[in-house]
């Protein structure tokens, strides 16, 4: 209680915390979602979004409006807000923001490498890269043929450099190796981010560490679930699990041996936090999937982050909530454009 964040947080970061709380208040409400769900076409969606904080963000889009364009414009808007926060931040908040952008950078690197495999032009892929993960060396990613090449030639000057220790190898980058690279990079990144938050201490550690622990465990579960029936071996799978979560070390060892969903569920039953989540999963096509349940839990934790003051977690939570909102809008827009409205209410309400 006497760590003192209340005393000096506002000196450096008070303005930004006030700003992010204002932004959080303009997230879409339940009424907005009800209006969106009743739209018949994407043009209606555009009109409804004009009444929200999004405003005229689609004004410059040529006809016909597609879901992909809506997604790109929403991302650009989030990026503008984020860049504003970042440009006005001081240390250590600036490092915190850099950590946040690393996950998008990893996604962009993988997108560029997959594009190189499919012989796509760099310009085509750069347009679709996530704006939050932009870095100057992006255009050179596609020339690398092995992870060591990638590190030495391209990424050594970027914030991603420290995450490459476990990924250095001379194997050529085919689909399996790119997938392994993606997951190993993300694992190193998550563990480094967790350490940063823990070392910072104070309210930030109290809020961010449980969120990052959940992210690590969730990744372990999803990697396991998606690896059933693929060529990924159990040992390889175990090297991809981030170790900064509650499952480390016994849970991860058990999870590496799991061969189907029921065995995974039995591992989760050992943990009080995850047992109710797995029980909420519906079976077959009717109920929620495991991913839906995890998204709901993430939204819950991020909304609760706003109940405490004087910590950096509000910025992380706002960005993640905004991403969930974008996923919701894209889902509703896809259901409308495909005229398949049975599952249109499967979005996750935030406020």
């Amino acid at each position: 209680m006497l760590e003192g964040a209340e005393f000096y947080f506002n000196v450096d970061h008070g303005y930004l915390e006030g700003l992010v709380r204002g932004c959080k208040a303009s997230l879409l409400t339940q009424q907005d979602y009800i209006n969106l769900v009743q739209c018949e076409t994407l043009e209606d969606v555009k009109i409804h979004l004009q009444t929200t904080d999004y405003g005229n963000f689609l004004a410059n889009q040529t006809n016909p409006l597609t879901v992909s364009k809506i997604d790109t414009e929403m991302r650009k808007k989030l990026c503008r807000e984020f860049e504003y926060f970042r440009n006005h931040s001081l240390e250590p908040l600036s490092t915190f923001f850099t950590y946040m952008t690393c996950s998008y950078m990893i996604d962009n690197v993988i997108l560029l490498m997959n594009g190189a495999l499919q012989k796509k032009s760099v310009k085509e892929i750069l347009v679709k890269c996530h704006p939050l993960g932009r870095f100057t060396e992006m255009e050179a990613v596609n020339i690398a043929e092995t992870p060591s090449d990638l590190f030495n030639a391209v990424l050594v000057e970027t914030p991603l450099a420290p995450f490459f220790q476990d990924c250095m190898s001379e194997n050529t980058l085919d689909e399996l190796n790119i997938e392994l690279l993606r997951n190993k990079l993300y694992k190193s990144y998550l563990e480094a981010f967790y350490k940063f938050c823990k070392n910072h201490g104070d309210v930030t550690a109290e809020i961010m560490c449980p969120i990052l622990e959940f992210e690590a465990d969730r990744r372990a579960f999803i990697i396991t679930l998606n690896s059933f029936g693929t060529e990924l071996s159990k040992d390889d799978r175990e090297t991809l699990y981030p170790t900064c979560g509650k499952l480390y070390p016994e849970g991860l060892r058990l999870l590496a041996q799991a061969e189907d969903f029921d065995q995974m569920k039995r591992v989760a039953d050992h943990y009080g936090v995850y047992k109710p989540l797995f029980e909420a999963v519906g079976d077959g096509s009717g109920g929620k999937t495991l991913e839906d349940v995890f998204y709901e839990r993430e939204v819950q934790m991020n909304v609760l982050a706003f109940n405490r003051q004087f910590h950096y977690g509000v910025f992380y939570a706002y960005t993640k909530l905004k991403e969930q909102e974008m996923r919701n809008i894209v889902w509703i827009a896809e259901c409308i454009s495909q005229r398949h409205r049975t599952k249109i209410n499967s979005y996750i309400p935030i406020l």
Partner: protein
Amino acid sequence: MANGDWTTWEEAGSRPQFLGPMAAPDLRAELDSLLLQLFQDLEELEAKRAALNARVEEGWLSLSKARYSMGAKSVGPLQYASLMEPQVCVCTSEAQDGLQRFWLVRASAQTPEEVGPREAALRRRKGLTRTPEPESFPALRDPLNWFGILVPHSLRQAQASFREGLQLAADMATLQIRIDWGRSQLRGLQEKLKQLEPESA
């Protein structure tokens, strides 16, 4: 029936023929059975069409679900090459009644003569490997792997829906040919009956 004078089948059908006093009921019975077969085929075609629509809709919705989990730009035209080798080919063959049937053939079941150019194409696609392929029948890659190795279940469901849709499309094409043939047979028989009626009246 002396058919030797006519030069074509159409000519043979268009000239009036003396078929004998018992021909009309036989012809009617044949007409009835043909009509029944035609209606059965039409019903099957409608059912297959509804099933194909349902599969394609399911497939697209599963793709949207995959985009929800993986990110909107991770399941799209960026992930596949503009030039690709088909995994499934359509072959036609003639059945005993002279009608064409459509088969779906998985591309791995190909003859040895086609290995040469196909190997080069695969080598070009792989691009990064420097050693030539030792085996003569390299396995074609699953399109699911364009999106990564650890793909969500919804993407697999989408692939299964589209695969079923493919099979249905081939069956529908075969049925469509049978129905067209049936209709032309029906018209021919009705003509013959009309010619017979004024004679027996």
